[in-house]
Every structure is written in structure tokens, then in C-alpha cells.
Amino acid sequence: MGGDYAPEETVKGAVLAAQQGDVEIFLVGSANILENHLARHATARNASIHITPATDFIAENESPVAAIRYRPDCSVAVAAKMVKSGEADAFVSAGNSAAASVSAIQYIGMVDGIYRPSIVGALGSFAPNTVMVDLGANVDCKPHQYLDFAIVGSVYAKQFLGIAEPTISLLSTGVEESKGSEAVREAHSLLKKSGLNFIGNIEGNQGLSGKANVIVCDGFVGNVLLKFYESIGGHALGWTQRKLKKYPFAGFFAKLLFNRLFQATRISDETEKGGGGILWGVDGVVRIAHGASRAPHIANAIESAMNAVRARTTDSLKSELEKYSQGGKA
């Protein structure tokens, strides 16, 4: 069991999730430690929380490859195997996200036609009909991965935003197909020929315009952009308050404006809704939670994993890929 505040906050989050919803939870990790922590939260719903022992774990700074090469009994590997065997419908991890991803690839496997897992997120307030993928699962990408991201993003936009035929754009440094890195230029050519609803490159300044329902980029760019985007509301509030320092009441209104009326400071909550944080492309549901997750975040992550199971995201992706392989539009 991983996470900056594990096991205390993680166990607390699991108890919270069990109190809020109809869910059976397996805490995977050191049995003694987990039993001690669970005993501190004696509630009637604890009957739906079980402990699955794992003798090993992958630390945050360790190589994720260790999870499949040398440490098959680490907690993320055990959790992934539970999903593969059908003992669990989903697994949630706030620990080493690369190790969770590698375990998912190795022990659960990928949906046929998808190379590596990716993370999709809806941009929310400023661009309610736009999702971005990948948000950090793949820092270095091969050109064909951008095609996977486009398909995955398209399924997400249909399923969680209700867009019948999402438009897809490739994030680049210019709208011309000759712009961008070598991988981006090759990806452009693959997307153009793909039969997907690809509308060409999009630049950063058009990302929030709503032109593209799915913005495709590598995980390095996506992660940097997402964190920058999520920070805008907070910085705008701080900047406005500093400017209005002389007028205390106006400062109060700024707070009301940014925190309540437009909720620009809560963009990160929005990107996590729906299928956010899910490792798309894995043949099962895997939800990555922030390393710094506290109990409510863990409970949210569990709920979002449950939503993905209920929404049958994996089946939707498979049927979309089926259409795509038959030459139809995904």
C-alpha cells in the first residue's frame, strides 16, 4: 500500500468509501500494519473491508520494472493479479504510479490493439467539451501511441461527455503538419490516415477553444500542461487579491468569484471526475490516485474506480477498437 500518507490516510479513505457506498474493499499490504490501522476505525461497515497480505512493496523512488522482474509479491503486483483473477473488479493505487502501470500491463494485460496505458482528463470549466490525453503515463511516446490516445480519448468523450462524434486534434507548435517533434510529425501522418475524426494540429492557445473535443499529446507535455492549467485559478485569485489589497471588501468578492461562482480554483477536482485518473487501455480498471492523497481523495478514487467498472469503460474501448479495426470511425 503506497502513498505519501499511507497507510493511515489510505485506510481512513477506504473506511470512508465503505461508509459512503456499496463496495467491498481489499486492503493489500502488510497484514499486521493494516490490521492495526483498520482497528482504529471500528464501524459497522468495516465488515466490507478485508486485508490481503502482500509481503513486499515498491518504494516511490524504485524502478517500476522491479515490480514485474524481481518483486512479484509486492502490493501493486498482488492487487493487479486480483483484478486479473476476477477477485477484484478494480485496483486503486496512490503509490509509485509507474509501478502500478507496469504491474497492470504485466499482470492484467492490455486491451488488444492498445500498446500502453494512458491517462485521460476532462478540462472542465474553461473547456467543458474537451478532454486531454495522455496526462502523464507515457513520458516518451512512439508515434503509434498517439493513435491509441486518440481512440481512448474519443471513447472517453463519448462516454463521459456525451459527444457523439468527437473531434480530435494533435497538440503541436503549429497547425501545419510539418510542425512539432519527429514523433509528433509521424503521429500526424498516422492520425490523418486513421479514419478517426482528426481535424489536424492544435496549438496551446487554442486548447481551451472547444474546437477539439480530444487533445492528443505525449504524457510529458500533458502532465506539465495539466498542472499549469490546474494552478491558474489559484494564481488568478492570489493576483487579484494582491491587486485589490487596498479594498478589503473587493478582496472578499474576488474570493467569492474564484472559489464559489466560477470555481476556477477547483479545476483539479473537475479533471479527476468521470474517468479521470483511470489507466485507460488496461484490460481491467486501474485507478491512479495522487501520491499526496488524503482520506477523502482515496475515497473519491475508489468511487471513480467503481464508476468506471459500472460504466464498463473497458468494454466500450474494446467495441470502439473493433469498429476501428473494421475500418469504421472510432
Binding site: 514485474i68 522482474r69 507496469v102 503509434h144
Partner: protein
């Protein structure tokens, strides 16, 4: 299917390249395999042939041919072919 063909199939499936471009002279870099591809291929080969490939041996593989030769020698020693 020979050991070489089986390994080629595994490597091609994992790296998503056309098996015909993988020759004995190909390096992992040639086929744009990253470290996770390589480890997945090692694990898959270990499972298929029921052998263990120590890291120090795997690190010596300069080409696909080196990988195949090592596995062939291990498999033939174990009398699996």
C-alpha cells in the same frame, strides 16, 4: 516453430513492429524497444521456455541474435528442444 521464431514473435508483439524487420543483427534500439519492452520480452521468454535469464547475462545482449543464441543454448542444455 524454432526458438528464434518464437522469440521474434514475442518481441514483435510487445514492441508492435513487423516481425520481418527483426533480424539477428537488429539491436533493441533499431526496433525502438524501450526498457519496459525489453523487460516484458525477457519475462515472456522466461515464462515460455521456463528458464531464468540473470540480469548480468541480459545486459550483455547487443542484438536480437545474442538474445536468441543465449536462449537457444539454455533451452538445449535443459533438453527442452
Amino acid at each position: 516453430m524454432t526458438v528464434e521464431e518464437q522469440i521474434r514473435e514475442i518481441v514483435a508483439r510487445i514492441t508492435r513492429v513487423d516481425p520481418s524487420i527483426i533480424t539477428r543483427e537488429s539491436t533493441f534500439k533499431d526496433i525502438k524497444a524501450d526498457s519496459l519492452d525489453v523487460v516484458q520480452a525477457l519475462v515472456a521468454v522466461e515464462e515460455l521456455f521456463e528458464i531464468e535469464i540473470p540480469d548480468e547475462e541480459a545486459q550483455k545482449f547487443q542484438s536480437f541474435g545474442d538474445f536468441v543464441s543465449y536462449v537457444e543454448s539454455r533451452v538445449s542444455k535443459a533438453g527442452k528442444v
